[in-house]
């Protein structure tokens, strides 16, 4: 009896229309972040792009500046009970609960595929203790094909009463500092927006040796079904992402830009090239596209195309000239 469910092959969408002549232009979109040489500033955000391979049938991964994989922990994690996602006004809540295959399986099963592409792979990771963070960092340090690490510090620390690492400057310093000593890879620290003053955490991460900062992670939120009176998420509380949060993200990037020297990666509600450019203007050297990937698998590529167009139209010579050039 055929107990295994037969998988039908997923047939890809028609490939994107070839952009003629891009290669001929002198336009230089490259940017160096944290020592990672990106051919352009467009990345995909952790948790919204799987391990990369899920999107390979739909977009040309080679065009991305970098891709950031789903957050990894030391051991595989099951994640939270369903329902895990719910749409909200111009956004969505997710309570995936950091489900992932674990750093080891990633290296063995997913990385070989990603190595085939001419795109930087950045590995997002987390732990529930400083030790776990360091262990994961060490494991990832030793392998080929990883261009850099992105530390998700919006995670509760089991050693300190499940206080989130990223909401306390002291904890932030300690975990970043410890990880810094555990890896030679470029280290990006990803900041939480659920905080009174994000610049304090940004400075703590800078002091602790981060090479770059990415922001923002999701805003804490919830939703209720008025018919059942139950939370719409199995985990009650989840993370809000999508266009709804863009104004908050822009403001935080601008604040952090004014208070630290590190290069910044802007994240939050980026759907279009204009959105991405807004982030550059307030201080982001690169951007990550998250929820938009769900709405349109080719969003990141369209955003890249749009940035190229903007640069040409406005005769911007390189990314640096845009970063933080807000006219206030």
């Amino acid at each position: 009896m055929g107990r295994d469910i037969k998988k039908s092959e997923v047939i890809p969408l028609p490939p994107p229309v070839e952009k003629g002549g891009r290669g001929d232009l002198t336009l230089d979109l490259s940017v160096n972040i944290a020592g990672i040489e990106l051919k352009n500033p467009v990345m995909t955000a952790s948790g919204t792009f799987g391990y990369g391979e899920e999107y390979a049938p739909y977009i040309d991964l080679n065009r991305l500046g970098a891709l950031v994989v789903k957050g990894l922990s030391l051991q595989p994690k099951q994640g939270n009970p369903p329902p895990r996602i719910v749409e909200t006004a111009a956004g969505m809540l997710n309570s995936i609960g950091l489900q992932n295959i674990g750093a080891g399986v990633f290296i063995e099963k997913k990385l070989p595929f990603l190595r085939k592409f001419d795109t930087k792979v950045i590995v997002n990771f987390f732990g529930d203790s400083i030790d776990e963070y360091c262990e994961v960092a060490k494991i990832l340090d030793s392998v080929d094909g990883i261009a850099g690490l992105e530390m998700n510090i919006s995670c509760p620390n089991k050693e300190e009463g499940w206080l989130e690492f990223g909401t306390n400057p002291d904890l932030t310093f300690r975990v970043v500092n410890a990880v810094r000593k555990s890896t030679r890879l470029p280290l990006i620290v990803k900041l939480s927006p659920n905080i009174t003053d994000i610049t304090i955490i940004a400075k703590a991460a800078e002091d602790a040796g981060a090479d770059a900062l990415s922001l923002i992670n999701t805003l804490s939120g919830m939703a209720v079904d008025v018919n059942t009176r139950r939370p719409k998420l199995g985990n009650v509380i989840g993370g809000l992402s999508g266009p709804a949060i863009k104004p908050v993200a822009l403001k935080m990037v601008w604040q952090v830009f004014k208070s630290v020297k590190l290069p910044l990666i802007g994240i939050g509600g980026i759907m279009t090239a204009e959105d991405a450019i807004e982030f550059m203007i307030v201080g982001a050297s690169a951007v990550q596209v998250g929820t938009a990937n769900f709405v349109d698998p080719q969003a990141s590529i369209k955003i890249l195309d749009g940035i190229e167009d903007y640069f040409e139209r406005n005769e911007v010579k390189n990314v640096k000239d845009m970063v933080g050039n807000l006219r206030v």
Binding site: M1, G2, R3, D4, I5, K6, K7, S8, V10, I11, L13, P14, G47, T48, F49, G50, E54, Y55, Y58, K70, Q78, G79, P81, P82, P83, R84, I85, V86, E87, A89, A90, G91, M92, N94, I96, Q99, G242, P243, M271, T291, N293, F294, V295, D296, P297
Partner: protein
């Protein structure tokens, strides 16, 4: 972008939407597509819809496309009712797995509740002999019934209010249809699926269900459409009854969009659906 061919209201809450799709890929019964309904951001996410029919199948070229059969539920499906010929929608797909066949099972029974009929039009056409048990709240909740009648298959209809067919739940008419040679495919409301699964489990009849979970990506990337399935250890026949069991401790999450939408009913942890 794909052009709308037609958008026909067939019942108060149900529409058939024809979409032109050039170079139509192979689509297996049970697969679905994700439709982006607007260029605006409300609603933001795509919506999943099964492929009900394939249009112009066989004849290459003109007329190729798919038909969606949809029920008006909320924001997205209400917006769909405004679609008119030559409007464009953005399709992602086909996505998901298909139904498993079982050689030797000759008594194929399809159990559908309301809009749960969708995956079965393409499936029914694959079988020489198949029996459809189709339930709905009322006669207005039996979308596509006429299409199935044209397939000249055995059909039994039930409605909660008795306005067509037997009065009662569709699950009440399953039992007497079953034989050692049966195989069940089911799609519909969760309550119905649970009951079908329970019956199949009790009688040891293989049963495949197509599940519905809110989705964001549709391609296994966001891990949003999780359902709990029993662990991966080997199946064991329970001693007390005929059901197959696995160690519930080793339960894991699978994704409806990628590992499904069709699952072996015994695989699912029904208590946590």
């Amino acid at each position: 972008m794909a052009k709308i061919l037609y958008n026909k209201q067939i019942l108060p809450a149900y529409y058939q939407l024809g979409i032109r799709w050039e170079n139509l890929p192979t689509i297996e019964p049970g697969q679905f597509v994700m439709l982006r309904l607007t260029k605006y951001i409300d609603p933001l996410l795509r919506r999943p819809f099964g492929v009900y029919k394939i249009l112009g199948q066989g004849a290459r070229g003109k007329g190729q496309g798919i038909e969606i059969l949809y029920k008006v539920l909320g924001k997205g499906t209400r917006l769909m009712t405004n679609l008119k010929p030559d409007d464009e929608v953005d399709i992602l797909g086909p996505l998901g797995n298909s139904f498993s066949a079982h050689s030797g099972k000759t008594n194929v029974i399809i159990v559908a509740g309301g809009i749960g009929i969708v995956p079965f039009y393409l499936l029914a056409k694959r079988f020489k002999k198949v029996r459809l048990l189709f339930g709905g709240r009322s006669k207005d909740d039996l979308p596509g019934l006429d299409d199935f009648k044209k397939l000249k298959i055995d059909i039994e209809v039930s409605t909660d209010d008795g306005s067509r067919g037997k009065k009662g739940l569709v699950t009440e008419i399953i039992a007497k249809q079953l034989s050692g040679n049966s195989l069940i495919y089911a799609c519909g409301p969760q309550g119905m699926l649970k009951e079908v699964a329970r019956i199949a489990d009790k009688t040891g009849i293989p049963c495949y269900v197509s599940l519905d979970k809110a989705m964001a990506c549709g391609i296994g990337a966001c891990l949003g459409c999780a359902i709990k399935v029993k662990g991966q250890g080997p199946w064991v026949k329970s001693q007390e009854n005929k059901s197959a069991i696995r160690n519930p401790q080793s339960a894991i999450y699978k994704m409806v969009c990628k590992d499904g939408p069709i699952f072996d009913a015994r695989e699912i942890v029904w208590e946590e659906i």
